[in-house]
Symmetry: C2
């Protein structure tokens, strides 16, 4: 009889078994080559063409250089000069923040942009150093090596860390492990960046108040204590000058934000501040002793530093650690920036290729006296607004910086440090994205919680604590999702074959003889105990309800597996156990719509045999119809005789 | 027109917004009180009855003592004496393994079983020390404190670690965080236990060969090197005696396995071995100098040890670490054992309550000269086979051990250590569960990989490395599941409204104007980039196919969200971005069957507005019908005019 009945329903098929190596290859392909980057190369038949496409894949410059026009050149020169005017003061400021010689900020805007122009696939990204990675370098290296006492070692370790960061970035890209960056959720990045920006601003109080001694910690409590304990050392000249420039910078920023066409006002304002500040101090440095200035910058372009890399213990481990952490942070920012602008202009960016480009620019940078660079948001936004067309704007910027290094460095002698602090603060305030945090609160409380913990971790702990917290909580969320999948009761939507969650659709109708449960996630070791308990509780509650109402007793439990993407051995054991438990309670387990992966695994175990193939249906509606049929044909004294073969 | 059309289809509802605190409470309830343990107490109206139920909840002895009968007592006494005969030699052996005085093994079979009898909810669990936790204690404590040079400190630290283990177990139970144990998957436990058993066996070669010096490492390479470098010190008398007993023990084990009714043969064999070995050595210890023996065991029951707990640095941190790690391992074993036997006999065990019982027995144990105890599998299996009815068998065992401690300890003076080694090896060989590993390989390659890494990590690294590896890989699997959800194309099963994976059901029919994609998992930060790329690739491939076949071009992309259990802010941004990208490619995005959670989040964002409410359908079939309708009513020159309000 069961064979006759089965023909009325759709058969649930067992996918044909795949050889292990083939399925492994498919899985790895899905994980590592999701976007199928070599499709064009593979589809090409001629070998010479294949090589050409391969070269163009590795060096995107070959791609865009062919269609390059004079029109493009004009745009790129304008945007290149604009970002150079931002890059020079910002570079010096961030180098200060990293406790490195200011000139390193200029060096770092010379070699890396040239490398990126050849290998990078973004048209809008402007290469340079970033505040957070600079501060992180200072905080992590500074814990072990004092930059004032031992500046040479500190400098060499910074190069080595940059080398390791580049090496790691290149390796991640080559191994196509770009997805490790995805472990930082958007919420975590908002919180982390906001926290880091707050910390960076706090650090600037040193420059703003003209203090000479300062704590090495970055947490808000220690920093504020350090500042207020030295209140007798505060220099009012420094503070007043700093505030003036800060107001000027923030005003220009505000104007540019209101009118995006006037982007050049805020782009030029740091350079204007530097020029005015320098002129001011050049004439009045005798009157204002309290104001510190940069001093001499060495003339000439990047000296080689490849021989300065430190590969001997004990410091190599420190450099490795700093390199990996700063490298990941820099990568996350650079790739996010590249992706956002690519989306505006509707072109595609391959994250893994970008990683290789970032990695190469840091490796070559570490050989030529640069420290960690990436694609900072502020500089790239200016580049985009200035109308850049290709990565050539980076080349123009590099040339402008080279000219500065060769001829103009003496002009920066009297540049006040307080101006640099103002520039950093103005740039950082935009990173405290409270609007995004409010948006998170509205949309998803858990994301807000991740964001807040990252922020508080950075501000009250250290940058690393904030990072670990945000990654940890993000991963915990994923684990919790798998560990506690929703199970809900389904009901029938009237006059249809549709079954839906009765909480979501209260009009859906349930039946007393059967309970339809939908499992909303994979069945894994992390949730199999929970699922077993929770299903048991649903049944208990349902039976309690029926007992009080005096209805027909429960006979069938239909498990809707539509949303069960996968199952592991613990999950299969749980199902077998559940089937036994239900059997003892004189209930029958029925399965609806198991997916391909689940069916494959179940067919390899003894579960299908023990439950009976005729108790697996393609849809909930068919499972219900079959249960109905069995209920009505069963004799009253022997509830469901057809199934005593189980 | 869209309002008229909408009435033909089922409406997708937006669940009413829940106050934040209420939804938080519901979520926490689901996570922490999944099995609703207090239902009976809550449903009771009288306060006195409530208190009674509460007390019975905390002390299950009140539950089973009321229905206790003489019949039960007979069974419990028999099984209690049987497990005592196993507990005494095993206890001494495992204490040796932990580098603790042998008498501690007896002490640990006295107090903890009494505590468990009062608080534990399993009827079959027999309490005692376990080999893996003993070895782990030796390995972790031994690294910092030498048990030979400083036995007193070592002993006190073992008590302190036991105290911390108990404290942690109690806290986990009270906070209802029992699910942290679930992070150890079945596969990981198989591998870990097998590895630990291998390591324990290797350690026994010391006793078997009568060696005096031995390495403190546990990895196979170091241990084998240590053994073979001392080949001139091997004692053949010891080896021969050990092998004889080992053969005897394994034979009895084999017999009991073949005929479960003869369980008492293997249960008694350790005691028989001890008795024979002791008599043998008592008469012949002058002839066989090479065989080491236990020596004097102090008479009398457990002395108090509460004043010996070490709470001062630097050792408190060590004890804390050892306590937490051994405590988790012990918990995992004890709960798994309790659950398995409860399943055989069809009663329920609350993991959190069990944790409190284990925790209390270890805390009180640490006050009375016991070290870490749990519910070992071997002893509990013997208890079960001996026909125990309630936890009273533990009390009987404790009494038997107390009698031994008070009167019989001198009898163990000449017990050969090599007999203890044989007992441990015989017990451990059963834990190398190669059949389970083969089963894993057949069912799920990834689980096998987890199992193998745990095994190799323990055997070639350290026990901790094995543990970290297995937890790490298990968690990675969960993250990978969320990070790379399957997306597949759906087709229509002929003569039905059913849509299914076309790879699973090759007969399902697809249509050229629309592409139906099913997302098999939640949309989270960890997968949103992947999903966007992968959807883009599906569309590219579909358009390529249509272009070569000259079919009608693609117009609609239907996303089936049935299996999308949840979405976070990154996921929502991805959908918004996807909608924009599709818009630029002149494709329309249509959503089918979003769940309650997803609908709630989407309704809070601007996504529903931007896509239009009329493009969200309850089923794939309705979405397809609506697309069809729009395709046929649209004029040829303006593809889908109704939607220009998007």
């Amino acid at each position: 009889m069961s064979s006759k009945r089965a023909s009325q329903y759709h058969q649930v098929e067992i996918p044909p078994p795949q050889p292990f190596l083939k399925s492994l290859k498919n899985t790895l392909n899905e994980i590592l080559f999701a976007d199928d980057p070599f499709r064009r190369i593979r589809n090409e038949s001629k070998t010479s063409k294949k090589i050409e496409l391969g070269l163009r894949h590795v060096f995107p410059i070959l791609e865009w250089a062919r269609g390059y026009s004079l029109e493009y050149l004009k745009s790129d020169v304008i945007s290149g000069i604009t970002i150079a005017s931002l890059a020079i003061p910002q570079g010096i400021s961030y180098a200060q923040l990293a406790n490195l010689p200011p000139i390193l900020g200029l060096y770092s805007s010379l070699v890396p942009p040239l490398v990126y122009a050849i290998m990078g696939s973004s048209r809008d990204l402007a290469v340079g150093t970033v505040a957070v990675a600079s501060l992180l370098t200072a905080a992590m290296l500074g814990k072990e090596v004092n930059a004032v006492v031992n500046p040479k070692l500190y400098l060499h370790l910074a190069f080595t860390a940059t080398f390791f960061a580049g090496l790691m970035q290149t390796c991640l890209g080559l191994l196509r492990l770009g997805f490790v960056v995805e472990i930082l959720s958007h919420a975590a990045i908002v919180g982390f960046m906001g926290g880091a920006a707050t910390v960076v601003c706090l650090q600037q109080l040193k420059g703003l108040l003209g203090l000479h001694h300062f704590t090495h910690s970055t947490d808000i409590v220690t920093v504020l204590r350090s500042i207020f304990s030295q209140s007798h050392m505060w220099r009012w000249e420094s503070g007043v000058l700093g505030c003036c420039f800060l107001i000027f910078l923030l005003t220009t920023k505000y104007i540019s934000k209101k009118r995006p066409k006037l982007f050049w006002i805020s782009a030029m304002s740091p350079l204007v501040s530097v020029i005015f500040g320098t002129i001011f101090l050049y004439f009045l440095h005798d009157q204002f002793h309290g104001i510190q200035f940069i001093g001499e910058l060495k003339k000439g372009i990047n000296p080689p530093s490849i021989t300065h890399l430190v590969f001997t213990p004990p410091y190599v481990m420190l450099a490795l650690k700093v390199g990996i952490i700063t490298g990941v942070i820099a990568l996350a920012e650079g790739i996010a920036v590249g992706r956002s602008f690519a989306m505006y202009k509707n072109y595609n960016i391959d994250g893994n290729k970008e990683m290789i480009a970032f990695g190469m620019m840091n490796i070559l940078g570490s050989f030529s006296s640069c420290y960690l660079t990436t694609g900072p948001f502020s500089r790239s936004a200016v580049n985009y607004n200035a109308g850049c067309k290709t990565a050539l704007s980076n080349v123009v910027m590099a040339v402008a910086v080279a000219v500065t290094l060769l001829f103009l460095t003496p002009l920066f002698f009297y540049t006040p440090l307080v101006v640099l602090s103002s520039i950093i603060i103005a740039a950082m305030l935009g990173l405290v994205d409270y609007e995004a945090a409010i948006h998170l609160w509205k949309l998803d409380k858990f994301d807000f919680f991740v964001c807040l913990s990252a922020y508080l971790g950075v501000v009250f702990g250290t940058i690393e604590i904030g990072l670990i917290l945000s990654v940890g909580i993000s991963v915990m969320r994923l684990v919790l999702f798998v560990g506690r999948p929703k199970i809900y009761v389904m009901g029938n939507i009237q006059n249809s074959e549709i079954y839906r969650n009765i909480e979501h659709y209260p009009q859906a109708i349930t039946r007393s003889s059967l309970l339809i449960l939908h499992i909303d996630g994979p069945i894994y070791f992390a949730n199999s105990t929970y699922l077993r308990d929770r299903i048991g509780r649903w049944i208990d509650e349902e039976e309690d309800k029926l007992r009080t109402s005096g209805d027909i007793s429960l006979q069938y439990i239909v498990l809707d597996m539509s949303a069960v993407g996968n199952i592991d051995t613990s999950g299969i054991s749980m199902l077998e156990e559940l089937n036994k438990i239900l059997g003892r309670r004189e209930l029958k387990l029925v399965i609806a719509n198991p997916g391909a992966e689940v069916m494959k695994k179940l067919s390899k175990s003894t579960f299908i045999e023990s439950i009976g193939k005729e108790r697996i249906y393609l849809t909930v509606a068919e499972a219900v119809a079959a249960c109905d049929f069995m209920l009505h044909t069963a004799k009253p004294d022997s509830p469901v005789p057809e199934f005593n073969n189980v």
